[in-house]
């Protein structure tokens, strides 16, 4: 009696299916890189250089921009160029000379953010500017007397942190850094010197903040 092909085929198929039933795979979830902002005004901290895979850090030193006005110039309206105690000349981006201290102050940083598309495009750099610098004896100088010119050695085109003047008693925009980019400028500060003010050393602190949306 000839064997039934259909029954024979069914018996062959059953064992094969047992081997192809879906089984669990192991799953690894990868989460995006951490958003990061780094801001440097003056001397920064970086382990190595960016191109060498260095990492940014905190430099606790607060740099100073200053000027001593000659007696014969006080209040004449002749702008007085300021200088900085920052020694930052090279960019951590590529370790090339970028600024010329003490005349120029380095301002730069980066914004790391995963993902693409719209939203969270740029980090904003602002400056919280006090109304005045004070000499501690009641004498004041408006912060609006201080301005800066922006440049960068070897740069062409617009600066990311362009030239400007402080707006006394405000939080003003200095510039922005697009997502996943490094931006830097060199600032040369100037005191307008338009008024005779009492003798003394006038001090004030501007707080620069880099914030990501």
């Amino acid at each position: 009696m000839p064997r039934s092909h259909s029954s024979h085929a069914a018996l062959c198929a059953a064992p094969l299916l047992a081997f192809v039933l879906p089984v669990n795979a192991f799953t690894v979830s990868i989460t995006p890189g951490t958003p990061t902002v780094y801001l440097q005004v003056g001397v920064g901290a970086f382990s190595g250089t960016l191109q060498g895979g260095g990492t940014p850090g905190v430099n606790p030193t607060v740099n100073v921009v200053s000027v001593t006005v000659p007696a014969a110039q006080v209040g004449t309206g002749t702008p007085q160029t300021m200088s900085t105690n920052s020694s930052a000349a090279n960019s951590f981006w590529d370790n090339r000379v970028f600024c010329s201290p003490p005349a120029q102050l380095y301002v730069g940083g980066f914004y790391r953010r995963p993902g693409g598309g719209s939203g969270g495009g740029s980090a904003l750099l602002t400056a919280a500017v006090p109304s005045v610098l004070s000499n501690g004896s009641g004498g004041t100088i408006s912060f609006s007397q201080i301005s800066w010119a922006s440049s960068g050695l070897g740069d062409a085109g617009a600066q990311p942190f362009p030239s400007g003047t402080f707006v006394a008693g405000s939080t003003q925009t200095i510039g922005s850094i697009p997502r996943n980019e490094w931006a830097e400028s060199c600032h040369t500060f100037s005191y307008a010197n338009t008024a005779v003010v009492p003798a003394g050393t006038y001090t004030g602190t501007v707080v620069y903040t880099l914030a990501a949306p």
């Binding site: 951490t34 958003p35 990061t36 902002v37 780094y38 801001l39 440097q40 005004v41 003056g42 001397v43 901290a45 382990s47 895979g53 260095g54 990492t55 940014p56 850090g57 905190v58 430099n59 606790p60 030193t61 607060v62 740099n63 100073v64 921009v65 200053s66 000027v67 001593t68 006005v69 007696a71 014969a72 006080v74 209040g75 920052s86 980090a123 610098l133 009641g138 004498g139 100088i141 912060f143 500060f189 005191y191 005779v196 003010v197 009492p198 003798a199 003394g200 050393t201 006038y202 001090t203 004030g204 602190t205 501007v206 707080v207 620069y208 903040t209 880099l210 914030a211 990501a212 949306p213």
Partner: protein, 189 residues
Amino acid sequence: MRDPGTFARLALASALLSASADGRAASNVDTGSPGNLATSVDLQFNITIPRFVSLRVGSAASINTLSFAPTAAEMASSFPVLATGGDIGGSDVTVQVISNAGSVTLTAATLTADLVSGGNTMPWSTLAATNPTGSIIAPAFNTGSTVLTAGAGIVNQTGSWRYIWSNPPNTLYGAGTYTGTVRYTAATP
């Protein structure tokens, strides 16, 4: 097996990031979620203004000579005589006092006891100055002083002085050119 180089960099980053805080610095780092990501850095500004006092009488760059040349008729009239040579014109000179060191005291000291022409002398008292503009009163020669009061530590005044030779009546002086120099001084405490 992890790349030891990568591990070292990650460890360093972790250490540095953990040190990042709200403390002010010249460089700073922050990591976190979008919308809650910000880092701040301080920059200090110092402007040093020295104490100074500035005094100007006449031209800014040179010593003026005021010349009185009365005619015979003017001599006979005994009327006061005006000079020439002031930087403003005629008998008038610019006077300016600027200081950031408080109130200023002006004095006028003659370098000789009298105006002199050869063996003849003429007293300084024959000369006087008024202030046709501004509020700065010319101090009397050798005896007086003018105090300019500071406002918020500042004196910044500009005006003019006009010099007059009194041409005293019933007084004859020998012919000649009588000369003398006055030194004005502005002083702060």
